[in-house]
Amino acid sequence: MRHRLQFTIQKLIRMALLLLGVSVTAFLLMNTSPLDPLQTNLGQAALGSMSPDQIARLEEYWGVNTPAAERYLHWLGDALRGDFGLSLLYRRPVLEVIGQRLSNSLWLMASAWVLSGALGLALGVLAGTRRGRWPDRLVRGYCLVISSTPSFWLALLLLMVFSVWLKVLPVGLAVPIGADAAGVTLLQRLRHAILPALTLSVTGVANIALHTREKTADVMERDYILFARARGESAMVRRHVLRNVALPALTLQFASISEIVGGSVLVEQVFSYPGLGQAAVAAGLGSDMPLLLGITVVTAAMVFGGNLAADLLYGVIDPRIRRGAARA
């Protein structure tokens, strides 16, 4: 018990440091980016019909003339008190914007995460246990093609097939065109999430499947498999392979959160899906520092939380680790 507590506290401290580092990096990158906030948000033509006085006021609003260190420390001070500030672009509290976007993104990401994990594991084990034979070659071929395919291109391809040719799925958005928000059913929302989730999972599968395949192939070479074979055991995959592949698979599964989050940025753009990714693009391109920092911190926390969950789950799944921890 004491060990668990110690472990958790250690992790939390690490998380705080990580978030601090991530926010500093994001801030510095944004600060050195060549984007001029007035130029990107108002546009050259809008500035062209403005008086110098007005431009000076707007520079003030976008913080063009405030020193970088001052701006960051100001943000950090407020953020530590739980105030993430107002989005410069949307003029609403950052947490409100993130909350609303996250609720759209979350189950898109969650379904893609579960789907890619399950499919990836299944395909990886399938290929690993039949190494060199046709299922292996098929899976490997698929994975290599998919991992070298840009996700936005795949998204366009899926749209072309399912929305334009077959006309069975909508071309984008999270709700039907022109539908009353109150009347939107769960099934309709599901229909709109299918293609984005499919794109995300299809690309996520490749990575997980390839890694699982390696590990499975590794396990298959072990002496205990040979021994089990010699004894004529039947449920080899379930009894020996899956159990030994479980830990690395878990690590992969939780590590893939970062890829799902990253991938959602591009995919949401293509599908006009109003998720966190779309907001991140808007904030990044629009130099909306408070919103961008907020999104960075939230997504970093999500990724970190995923890794932490994996660490904690090791003990639950593997009795050896549990016993090892208890002894320490």
């Binding site: 546009g43 050259q44 062209g48 007005q54 071309v171 065109i177 109003p274």
Partner: protein, 517 residues
């Protein structure tokens, strides 16, 4: 794979198929009902801060009519000024007081009447918020009585009616700057019914609108990337969608390509500084007459554009004196005469000094149209014997680069203020804002136009200033980029105003006049 796994996957597959095979509900097949229309705009057109004029709704890069609110004036299809709420307006002789009378029969959609107090409140609020709208010329607004508003100005501003044309009037009794943007109350042609942020806006016809009743009852506005917009058209889920020249040679069943004339121009500045060969007037004149604008339109814009000769082609303050004949031989002769004979490698060299006549054309990285124009311009200049390279830069350095080199710019606003800012000398720096140029006669005429108490008269002053400018050629204007849209057959989009810079809301300015045939 064991049985549980198998069951899980079959369940999943079934779910996907079930959801997929379900036929599209009726509300996703726009165009079947003839009283609604679905329009696709770029994601950048979604107003981040909502429909609050104080935070730039209607103003800014893509000036447009606010639709949800009424405005005092409107711009007519030829961009002269007409009236919406206003019934008359007057300017004092010193140009510092505008008196506007308004209709007394207008109600907000919550049933309250719209009065001069609401107008004054709106203008003071917009000035105070001071976001995208430039209200620095307004000191304050006040309501003299129920139907008369007085605008007290800090400086004479003859083109104030163009500002009035995009400033939607908000109700003083129901305005809260935190919530108005997402739940606006106005008196315009349409009412905001729903806003799914990041996706779509649904507008409904205002049943109590005081003007002519719009035919289109429901307007769905979607925000999509260009390729997704094209897919939406192909899938038949939109009635009108923006597109670009890249897609213009495609064809879609049931849709046709609509090309709208614009003042969305592209041009290069020719710096009038010692370190640039464009200091010499004959060089600037030669470039202006020696470039083939139609060639640029054909090569870069797939034919979808018009030649540009000024920053304000076709607007009421435009002066045709800017137009030049395409005359490459004349341009070459002019350069020969001025002492730039063609050297051995085809580039002009000045006599003994071995100084070559060459330029580097800058463009903004990532803007394919500007890059294409820069390359085409460089090609055409080389034919005149002017050495030309191109170089891509970001906005962070572009403004500085343009002080010494030609840069491809894009302009086109529905206000002469742009003309003023591009050519008028900035008292602080001693040159115009975007490119080194300063001419006293031009400044005087531009100032006179801005201070003129009569709008009609100011047009002729803006035109006179262009006579000076046309003689100096501090900028060379290349093309006006047509705005392209896919339009479902049977949808009539009525007479469009000359579109300004930007590809968003302009198309729906007159949506109340659209109809299905």
């Amino acid at each position: 794979m064991n049985r549980t796994c198998f069951r899980f996957f079959s369940f999943l597959l079934a779910l996907v198929l079930l959801a997929g095979c379900q036929s599209a509900p009726a509300d996703e097949g726009p165009g079947e009902k003839k009283n609604r229309v679905t329009v696709v705009m770029p994601p950048t057109s979604e107003p981040e801060t909502g429909f609050d004029p104080a935070f730039g709704w209607g103003a800014g890069e893509h000036v447009h009519e606010p639709l949800i609110q009424s405005t005092l004036t409107v711009t007519n299809p030829d961009l002269t000024i007409g009236y919406d709420l206003a019934t008359g307006m007057e300017v004092s002789a010193d140009g510092l007081t505008w008196t506007v009378t308004i209709r007394d029969d207008v109600k907000f959609t919550d049933g309250e009447p719209l009065t001069a107090a609401d107008v004054a409140f709106t203008y003071n609020t917009v000035k105070h918020a001071s976001s995208v709208s430039d209200f620095t010329m307004l000191e304050y607004a006040e309501a003299a009585d129920g139907t008369t508003v007085l605008f007290h100005m800090t400086r004479p501003f003859s083109i104030w009616p163009y500002t009035m044309a995009i400033t939607g009037i908000v109700p003083e009794h129901a305005y809260d700057s935190a919530t108005y943007g997402s739940s606006p109350i106005g008196s315009g042609r349409y009412v905001l019914k729903q806003w799914d942020r990041g996706q779509q806006i649904i507008l409904e016809r205002n049943p109590d609108y005081y003007g002519e009743k719009p035919q289109i009852e429901v307007v769905n506005l979607l925000f999509m990337e260009e390729d997704a917009a094209f897919l939406a058209v192909q899938a038949g889920q939109a009635d009108l969608a923006y597109t670009s020249a890249v897609y213009s040679d495609q064809s879609v069943n049931g849709f046709s390509l609509l090309s709208v004339q614009t003042v969305d121009n592209r041009g290069v500045n020719l710096p009038v500084t010692m370190s640039s060969p464009t200091t010499e007037l004959p060089v600037r004149q030669a470039i202006n007459m020696g470039i083939d604008r139609q060639g640029m339109i054909d090569h870069v814009l797939n034919g979808h554009g018009t030649p540009a000769y000024s920053v304000c082609d076709g607007l009421p303050w435009y002066n045709p004196v800017n137009e030049v004949e395409y005359d490459p031989e004349g341009a070459k002769a002019l350069l020969d005469e001025w002492g730039w004979p063609v050297g051995p490698d085809g580039i002009r060299v000045r006599g003994t000094s071995e100084m070559t006549l060459s330029l580097t054309i800058y463009y903004i990285v990532g803007d394919s149209v500007r890059q294409g124009l820069a390359a085409e311009l460089a090609n055409q200049l080389r034919e005149l014997g002017i050495g030309a390279d191109i170089k891509g830069v970001g906005w962070d350095t572009a403004y500085d680069d343009a002080r010494f080199n030609p840069l491809v710019w894009g302009w086109g606003a529905h206000t002469p203020m742009e003309l003023y800012n591009i050519y008028h000398t900035d008292p602080e720096t001693g040159t115009a804002r975007y490119s080194p140029y300063s001419c006293e006669a031009t400044d005087e005429l531009l100032d006179a136009a801005l201070a003129c108490p009569d709008l009609e008269e100011s047009y002729s002053l803006w035109q006179k200033a262009q006579e000076e400018i046309a003689g100096d050629v501090p900028w060379v204007w290349l093309v006006n980029v047509d705005h392209l849209y896919w339009v479902r057959d049977g949808l009539e989009v009525a007479e469009q105003k000359i579109h300004p810079h930007g590809h968003g809301w302009s198309i729906v300015n007159n949506i109340d006049q659209w109809s299905w045939t």
